[in-house]
Symmetry: C2
Subunit: 350 residues, 2 copies
Amino acid sequence: MKNWEKNVRKVVPYVPGEQPKEDHLIKLNTNENPYPPSPKAEQCLRELEISAFRKYPDPECRELIQAISRAYGVPESRIFAGVGSDDVLAMLFLTFFHGTAPILFPDITYSFYDVWAELLRIPYETVPLDEEFAIRPGDYQRENGGIIFPNPNAPTGRLLSLDLIKEILDANSDSIVIVDEAYIDFGGESALPLIDQYENLIVVRTFSKSYSMAGMRIGYAFGQEHLISYLNDVKFSFNSYTMNLPALKIGAAVISDQEYLSMTKNKIIKTREWFSKEMRALGFSFSESASNFLFVTHEKVDAKELFEALKKAHIYVRHFRKPRIDQYLRITIGTDEEMQTLVAFLKEYL
Amino acid sequence: MKNWEKNVRKVVPYVPGEQPKEDHLIKLNTNENPYPPSPKAEQCLRELEISAFRKYPDPECRELIQAISRAYGVPESRIFAGVGSDDVLAMLFLTFFHGTAPILFPDITYSFYDVWAELLRIPYETVPLDEEFAIRPGDYQRENGGIIFPNPNAPTGRLLSLDLIKEILDANSDSIVIVDEAYIDFGGESALPLIDQYENLIVVRTFSKSYSMAGMRIGYAFGQEHLISYLNDVKFSFNSYTMNLPALKIGAAVISDQEYLSMTKNKIIKTREWFSKEMRALGFSFSESASNFLFVTHEKVDAKELFEALKKAHIYVRHFRKPRIDQYLRITIGTDEEMQTLVAFLKEYL
């Protein structure tokens, strides 16, 4: 080993879902929205002036944060924005998980949490979900340096009720508790109103799923002023200008169109309900999903084999080679037509 | 203090140059390019399809990296891209400055270096520039955990020759050496060809200055494959999808137009040469600048007072309240017209 290599931070990176290059495929592997963003995005895009790009964007992201504030009725001082919720979460780990006690998160969850912990050398312990993949609040009643979980959880799609979230918050007033609500619009009750009451709660959201803007990289977080202030100190110590001009402008336009959000999410929920029935009829088991995906298993089918067969048929879903879930597939809810093609394939396959 | 506050990483953030909201001002405070980006940017922007935004962008940034590769004749495997050079530099600090010996950088330099070091708890020592604000390679011949400096240096604008850079590299084969070339296009010789020869050299660039794309947030770095590989491991452990679709597409279009780059940078250099003469005639002293700004001082004028007077006249320049340079102003080179207005003001003021 060269001497300079001793100073290298060596890590095993997160592996994002495949972004295949081929056309004419059915892509149900990264929980993207099958519908385009609000027409307001198009309008805003057409109005962008290229001459404005020579200047730095607003480092405080005011236009975007004002739009988020209006959409959710939350004061601007309680809002933070970043380059996708991954950037927001990375900043949160960096800012708030700087202690010596282990942070806690479920054993089956977003597979980036342990990667951030490893990267930033944060001690952590995973807390097993129960047999039905539910979070048990009682398991979070022990010393910790912080708590994070998605709600609904990913890749399970299971929702935790606000009462149970409160149970976790009440038992952990000494810790920062982060609720990652990437999928909340697809049927869950948000913890957002709880930020008034809990000074240690942070709620994270994204434009990538319900707002159909994965390609624009916008995430945001809500929390009391003192939390957002600490977070901004770290953000301004890392990269002052994270959000580029198109993200600030088009993001603001898209989030102002709550009617369109409501319409498209309802379409996805309707497709999910139909698809769920079909999948049960085909013998798949899964918990009820509050997200834009199902997390399914089948007694008589090997998940990895089915994953490969689907891929050959140009249908991409997600398979995780991980303990407890290697017999499961995560399937994003696409359009009706896409899900019908998938169901037809499965009928044939089984 | 609340218990959760003990786990907060507390930092003093970097303060970016002011982005004033008023119109009709002359903005010479953040080294932006006075000319719009290449016309290819406009064309590319008009061709963006909003429906593409629903999907995640390519996490490997291939289209952009291929365009950078073509523009500079460097293999794709030796290129890294990030959200402005600040993001690239933050990732470099995180990846390569993970040792216990102090990293070294000049005492007068980009004021983000010490902020990153403080944020990431990296030990550092600053190395004084000489009386004429030059870097002395001999000062970098001591134990260290890494070295970083801009070339030309900011805010001094002074260039270090390739021979002196080699002197630093030869004396530090056990350290990663980062040359931050944000301003190199305005008259310096790049260290890029040295990456063939030095396995520990990283060269950082940006779209924000010479390419007139500060608003798009694109930075990049060159280095041998093994360095880019370590860097990518950390990037994919922090945020897989950093570059949004407009940045990938428009960035690729802009960097392909080397003719436009050459034309606009020559205009800026010409303006700088004229402005330099005028400023010397007015009694200002400064080193020759190889960048798109001058770093000036005047025996008979208090820098802070002049800064305030200029601001009242709607001319923004940059003043740093820091040891050794509090009698200096950093003035970005704008259009001829802007610089003429500034010179006229100064003639009046003096």
